[in-house]
Symmetry: C2
Subunit: 282 residues, 2 copies
């Protein structure tokens, strides 16, 4: 199944999340059924990311967004597990620092845009400035409203000027699934630290968040920087979908491993010569 | 004379530099005649920049561009001499480093955009990417052409999102004045190091540079980030004009020194109390 096409938000379309099924898992019956395809995609990512690093002509920016508990950390961990850390930066964007607050909202993300040859994964991103900021009215409407245009123009800059492929994933879980995940955390001593009272407070704003996500998905899915709505109730399907879309995007770059800068045959001859001489001495 | 209005390029107008007089010096007869006004403007800058730093609600970005020898360094030095270094960053943009080249052209300048409360002075800037880059065809036309729009949108971001006042000065000297300055450098042992063969090579491209400047001035003078063409054959007049425009812009911000966070009267009483007790002991 072409997941890329199926989950991509058509530029200019108006998104209504209630028409999406967060529990969708395609033709796969379960995790075991999807395991081979998942490994195939991870293997492609692994090979292609090394080629991206060698080629140095393209950059890849992956943006992960989703409501609390949607699995941003898990997806991050999963995707980079296939990559050579040398060419990847994972960057989380939390509440802005006092210094960051004294700049425009794109300043801190621009600094971490990937250079050509590299991958950057944003765990939360500039979209927080039209999500949590909008829901909690941290700035007035006449400040957050123009941000959609600024975002589109900035992403266009990365794409046009720096050959950056931009993939934005909205990890979509249902309200019931979120509660279930919070419950599991409560029972897991290793993950209790992730719980905060605000998680439960934020749930009260669920509908506002959905509205803010719908606006971002509708206004900021562009040909060069599309949004994907990934059904994420099933973690294994979420990982499969994200991996497939990333692998396909890397393939579309038609990366070339550069030719060696030296004459390989010449080097080979030198090695041969040296080993012959050593043999004589030995 | 309202130099701000006189030298500002009207947004949307088409600039023909041959109609500008690089030797213009207004109603002033000579340097001595302008000295008092110049000191007045520097004094205003000095006072207002400290207020800007305290107020923390506005930022100021000053961009200096001009052909070799036009006096960018001198203007820089002159303008910051009036400011408290704590709140000012002067940033020169030379040939991009290999790392910078692996990013979009606005990446390196965005990192140095001023935070609110501060002043940034760009000695050369993102405009080099539509000036020297265009003249020497360092990238193909279909790469530099879209940059004017990217520049306008980025400057709009700084203005709208971060309350940044942007003043862009094109220091305009005549071709004869440039030669004269190069000659003076040759005879000055302290400044001979500034001379390079490329200076004279670049002179051959004079007309191409003028054309590139005219394009940048025409396409990128906007209401929020205007270009000023400063007649710069006379250094003293150039300094006067730039200082006056900067001082006026700072004044237009209507800066407020914030109220002290403590009760000054209470502190005063405490000091008074303490000194009375010391007197008793003494």
């Amino acid at each position: 199944m072409n997941l890329e096409k199926r989950f991509r938000i058509e530029p200019g379309s108006s998104v209504d999340l209630s028409s999406f099924d967060a529990g969708f898992h395609g033709d796969y019956k379960n995790e075991a059924d999807a395991a081979i395809d998942l490994q195939k995609h991870l293997h492609r990512i692994s090979k292609l990311q090394r080629k991206l690093y060698a080629d140095r002509g393209h950059a890849l920016l992956v943006v992960l967004q989703g409501i609390d508990g949607a699995g941003k950390d898990g997806t991050c961990w999963h995707v980079i597990s296939a990559m050579d850390p040398q060419g990847v930066e994972v960057r989380g964007f939390k509440q802005p620092t006092p210094e960051e607050k004294e700049h425009d909202f794109l300043w801190r993300v621009h600094a971490h845009a990937p250079q050509r040859g590299n991958v950057a994964i944003f765990n939360r991103s500039h979209y927080e400035d039209v999500l949590v900021v909008r829901v909690h009215e941290l700035v007035p409407k006449d400040v957050w409203k123009p941000r959609y245009d600024f975002i589109n123009e900035w992403e266009r800059l990365l794409a046009v000027e720096n050959n950056t492929t931009i993939l934005k994933f909205f990890l979509y879980i249902s309200k019931e699934e979120q509660l279930e995940r919070f419950r599991l955390r409560l029972d897991d001593p290793d993950r209790q630290w992730k719980i905060s009272e605000s998680d439960y407070k934020e749930r009260e704003k669920w509908d506002d968040y959905i509205k803010a996500f719908e606006a971002a998905l509708s206004k900021c899915s562009t040909r060069r920087a599309p949004w994907y709505v990934i059904p994420s109730n099933h973690k294994w399907f979420r990982n499969l979908a994200v991996s497939q879309i990333i692998a396909d995007a890397l393939e579309d770059m038609r990366l070339e491993t550069p030719k060696p800068a030296v004459d390989i045959e010449e080097i080979r001859r030198l090695y041969h010569q040296a080993s012959k001489e050593e043999n004589k001495r030995g």
